[in-house]
């Protein structure tokens, strides 16, 4: 408990008869980057907004740094930072004014250095309404971290950002984590989650269908590891030899590509085969299934087999779990 920043137990959120979140439980450790993934309408934003104290949970318990977000909202404000998916600032408020305004309410000195770092150096006097969407999101992020929160909620933080800004944002997130900040990252961007998150949870129709590290989740699916080989004599592409655990083989450009269930034996066998025939290896690439592929696999299974939220019955199993990862 002491090393947990967030605890969610049997959390449900209903809007009228619509079940947005249906009894989920998870915890986030202090200093962790926790990715909350799911398609539109999965319940990510409802979960975040209840954790942030913007909405009241219908049932279950939420705990953020020992506080109940719906009861201890005021205490929570100075120890959490939030970048909302949909929010705004007054059209006439300038960038520097916004920094002064919110820092004053947090009781800290304005962090103009953050504005400069997030590419807003030349925009201190620009009105919020005159900023591009990307710059508005950068400003929202700067405001979210200006008071050095212990827990940071980021809802689609890189939506609308260019490549450079995304890289800067990722660097900032990692820097914050290194300083001990716990970060909850809700995103559609699987590559971002795979790169940034220590652990991820996948929500589908309000239910938690998988949790684990990105590596654990990708290891538990039906996806195959792609082993691409290029040699001097191209023996592999010409004779159609198959190797252990290989499910499928194809030839692309100068590469022979094997889809393997177990890449270790496959690679060993390929190297042995080439060595025996004196065919020199030029390039060997081993690519595990990405989190995106695993996510699509889980959501596809979920769309066809999950019971609709609000009805009785359990969610169908979605892949086998091993270790920390697996179904929830």
């Amino acid at each position: 408990m002491a090393d947990q920043a967030i605890q969610v137990k049997d959390f449900r959120k209903l809007y009228g008869d619509f079940v947005a979140v249906d009894g989920i439980s998870f915890s986030v450790e202090i200093g962790e980057i926790f990715g909350l993934l799911g398609p539109n309408g999965a319940g990510k934003t409802s979960t975040l907004e209840c954790l942030e104290g913007l909405r009241e949970p219908t049932a279950g318990s939420l705990d953020v740094l020992g506080l109940d977000p719906s009861r201890d909202g005021r205490k929570l404000r100075n120890i959490v930072g939030v970048q909302l998916q949909t929010s705004g600032l007054p059209a006439n408020m300038s960038v520097a004014e916004a920094m002064r305004f919110f820092c004053a309410y947090h009781g800290v000195a304005p962090r103009y250095d953050l504005l400069d770092r997030l590419g807003l150096a030349a925009k201190h006097d620009a009105r919020y309404a005159d900023l591009s969407t990307g710059l508005q999101r950068r400003l929202a992020l700067a405001l979210a971290v200006a008071h050095q929160p212990q827990v940071l909620f980021l809802d689609e933080p890189t939506a609308g950002l260019d490549v450079e800004s995304r890289a800067e944002l990722h660097a900032l997130i990692q820097e914050l984590q290194a300083q001990g900040t716990t970060i909850i990252l809700a995103t559609h961007d699987m590559a971002e989650a795979e790169k940034m998150a220590d652990r991820v949870a996948i929500l589908l129709r309000g239910r938690l269908v998988a949790t684990g590290t990105p590596r654990e989740l990708t290891a538990t699916g039906e996806g195959f590891t792609k082993v691409s080989v290029r040699t001097e004599q191209s023996l592999l592409s010409s004779n159609g030899t198959m190797f252990p655990a290989v499910h499928q083989r194809s030839v692309m450009d100068d590469y022979t590509v094997y889809y393997s269930r177990d890449p270790g034996p496959t690679v060993s066998a390929i190297l042995g085969y080439l060595s025996e025939r004196n065919d020199k290896l030029i390039d060997l690439r081993v690519e595990r299934p990405s989190l995106e592929e695993r996510f699509l696999e889980i959501t596809a299974l979920g769309q066809t087999s999950a019971t609709a939220p609000g009805q009785s019955g359990a969610t169908a199993p979605l892949g086998a779990g091993t270790g920390k990862g697996g179904t929830a």
Partner: protein
């Protein structure tokens, strides 16, 4: 304290930077004042006596009823209050700061009117400047409270216009600004006395000018203060952070309680 100073400064500047607010805070009331000074005084010389209080009440109505509520609703709809909430800006500040700065803008315009009406248009100056200042403050407080309440209970921008005009238009016609209350037909008088403008005019006439009044000016002044206070308390109570969140305390019709002090005055007059 620093936060409140920053908030006040921001809201005050917004009252000048935002084109709509600039229009409602300064251009419309001062333009209307100039027009009335140039035209109405020629048509009806008796208007000189009511000119200063009438134009002060109009300035208060323009700023507080036509200017103040709109941005409150727009901010709620645009999710700005969500940003405020997650950054610890309390609801009381969100409502009181615009009300306070709107009050300052009204006081500036009132000062301009009070100081220039006589030299420019021959407007009659108050016999008692102290009472004039006090009634002006009460009027500003009352209308600012109502403006906040309209901004809180109005569901959208169209509802703001409707609710604001529901008070603004009858007030200009029946509020004793264009024609004295005592010449209104008896059947219309109760409607007139439901309007804060009527009580503001009665209080100005009774306290600042020492004129005969239809109502007891003390009752009218008390009604103005009580209505403003009830409106502000109700606005804070009914405040909703989020237009997407239907959970709100109390029914919007509770806003009608802000008119209760005027009903009391009507009953007392009977």
């Amino acid at each position: 304290m620093t936060a409140l100073v920053h908030h006040f400064r921001y809201e005050f500047r917004t009252g000048l930077r935002d084109a709509t607010l600039l229009l409602m805070n300064y251009l419309f009331p001062l333009g209307f004042y100039a027009m009335m000074g140039l035209v109405m005084v020629q048509i009806n010389p008796g208007f000189k006596e009511a000119m200063i209080p009438a134009m002060v009440v109009l300035a208060a109505m323009a700023s507080a009823l036509l200017g103040l509520p709109g941005p409150l609703v727009e901010s709620r709809e645009a999710g700005i209050y969500r940003s405020y909430r997650i950054n610890g800006v309390p609801a009381v500040s969100i409502l009181l700061m615009p009300a306070l700065t709107t009050g300052f803008h009204i006081l500036i315009v009132s000062g301009i009117i009070a100081l220039t009406a006589n030299p420019l248009f021959g407007g009659v100056v108050p016999a008692n400047w102290g009472s004039f200042a006090l009634v002006t403050l009460l009027t500003v407080f009352s209308f600012a409270g109502l403006g906040c309440l309209i901004g809180v209970v109005a569901h959208d921008a169209r509802a703001v216009v409707l609710l604001s005009q529901l008070i603004f238009l009858p007030s200009t016609l029946l509020g004793g600004m264009m024609m004295p209350l005592d010449i209104l037909p008896q059947t219309v008088r109760p409607v007139s006395l439901l309007l804060p403008a009527s009580h503001a005019m009665q209080a100005f006439h009774g306290f600042a000018y020492g004129l005969e009044t239809v109502t007891n000016p003390l009752l009218s002044a008390l009604a103005l203060g009580a209505s403003g206070l009830i409106a502000l308390v109700l606005a804070i109570y009914l405040f909703n952070w989020d237009s997407r969140n239907d959970v709100r305390r109390g029914h919007p019709l509770m806003a009608l309680l802000a008119l209760a002090p005027y009903v009391v005055v009507i009953v007392a007059q009977l």
